[in-house]
């Protein structure tokens, strides 16, 4: 594989960030995890990853952040060609009604995780989102069978006209 698919976590509270990173340890070998403390840093990390020919598969984003908020970041990313396909998940306890609606309508939000989360719940969301991402964007699905939803990947391969050679 010449490009890597990254998971990006945007969260300003250190403890929460640590907990998220720890819960996603299983995925690290296949999907490197990058972190950012605010939206400006997040944008820098994204630019760096994209410039190096890699991709953002999934963004887990807190809403209340110093500076621009999480929903605004997701909306920006939705209008950017390099990140429009990335799966976007809000991880928050404080996004109000309005902001959530905005995220769904304008950022095409893929999932909403409310704090506190459970480890299994979070991993399931990440697994599902990344499975959808690779099915939609990757040619070779075999490399993800072990870590993601193998049944769903097989089903995708069935319909993708795979042939013998």
């Amino acid at each position: 594989m010449d490009h890597k698919i990254y998971i990006l976590i945007v969260e300003d509270e250190l403890e929460v960030m640590d907990a998220l990173v720890k819960d996603l340890e299983n995925f690290e070998a296949f999907f490197p995890v990058e972190t950012a403390n605010d939206t400006r840093e997040a944008q820098e990390v994204i630019d760096y990853i994209i410039d190096h020919g890699h991709r953002i598969g999934l963004i887990l984003c807190d809403h209340v952040l110093p500076g621009k908020n999480g929903v605004d970041l997701l909306i920006d990313l939705q209008s950017n060609e390099d990140t429009i396909k990335s799966k976007k998940v809000l991880v928050t306890g404080q996004a109000g009604h309005e902001d959530t609606i905005l995220a769904i309508n304008k950022a095409n939000l893929d999932h909403y995780i409310s704090k506190p989360w459970t480890e299994e719940g979070l991993q399931e969301v990440v697994r599902n989102q990344l499975t959808d991402y690779v099915i939609e964007n990757e040619k070779n699905l075999l490399s993800y069978m072990q870590i993601l939803d193998a049944e769903k990947l097989s089903e995708a391969m069935r319909t993708k006209k795979m042939t013998d050679h």
């Binding site: 072990q146 049944e151 391969m157 069935r158 013998d164 050679h165």
Partner: protein, 466 residues
Amino acid sequence: MKTFSKDHVSILIGVIGFIIPFFLSIPGLSEAGHVALSVFIIAAIFWMFEPVPIYATSIMVILLQVFFLSKQGVLFPEVTAEYTPNGYTDFIGTLANPIIILFLGGFVLADAAVKYDLDKNLTRILLKPFGSKPKFIILGLMVVTGLLSAFMSNTATTAMMMTVILPIIAKTEVSDPLRIGLALSIPFAANIGGIATPIGTPPNAVVIGALSNQGIDIAFTEWMVLAGPLVIIVLFVTWLVLLWMFKPETDSIPLDLKGTFQKNSSAILVYLVFGATVILWVTESLHGIGSSIIALIPVTVLALTGILDKDGIRQLPWEVLWLVAGGISLGISMEGTGLAEWIITNIEWSIFSPVFMIIIFSLVAIVMSNFLSHTVSATLLIPLAVSLATSGVAGEGFSLVLISLVIGVSASLAMMLPISTPPNAIAISTGTLKTKHMTRAGLVIGLFGLIMVTLYALFYWPLILN
């Protein structure tokens, strides 16, 4: 600092290999034979080391032949005593070879079946009689996989069956060898099932295409009669081998497949077309209409009814057709220029018995196919076998059809490594088993297959062919 990659080196060696014969004068090989040797070398190196996709190499082969070996090419505009150049249409015409059209029909049918979930629903129905005991479930899975892969691509069949077995594997204890047995049963059955019909897998097409160039047409039914019994016995023994190597511990498997047949008019039309085409294919010996001609029926009906739409046509696996066509095309020149004959006359064949030659060709095909694409292996070996038979150097009793079958069937019996076949790659990717499991089981099946191919070639196939 970027150094030469492995691919660059392969390309360089291929190109040098292509150039060398132009500066040599090999005794006993015609001038055109030298050129064919050039094409053969670059194709073989590109196919083996894959610096470019294998279908791209096949496309290049056709161009090189048109350019250098056809009557319209730059080197051989006139007929000489040594070489009667083919018109360029012979080379590009391989793309419309009857076997290619047959495959096209198969692709379109399989595609429609997947689109309307016919494959899944058939699996659900066919698996029911096998109950819930692990050993019978595995047998059922293998029978269904084999049956479907005889008409669909082995790879697509494997992907579909994975959606059936993954939930079972997930519910099985991690320590239970049943998991490994299950994960191996599907790709193995798919590889073996592909042998059963001409459209089962591309190596079969290479064999049939090469034979048709020699004026020998193998009917769909004839192929099934030749290959079917072998498939059944190898499939059965594979089942026993897997049960013996990976003895299930649990005594019942929860198999709960949900789904219903789609009942809209398009789906029903697909069922009818699928059923009718398969019936017409397997009854070719009764009505005598060639399978390639019948293959046009599903293509036409599904196109007229819009089930095969523009996107569907674009998404057909055209690269497989190019791959096979390139192989058939290369065979034309290897035989026409005397290259294949020159290669084989370097070996004193008459000292070998026919049994020995069958074993050698089968063994070489199995070994090659474990590492290379099955189609490529068959493509490289078939011209040699054809020349052995047609030149008469192998002596009496060396049948062209027989040895071609040996090669075609043996190519599909290679399943020791994840890279041997795409179905194997899928099984390994699940992480349920290790390569060593696949290698051990694949080795036993390869050896058993070798013995069976030899026995069939000695005793059964001659009965049918004569």
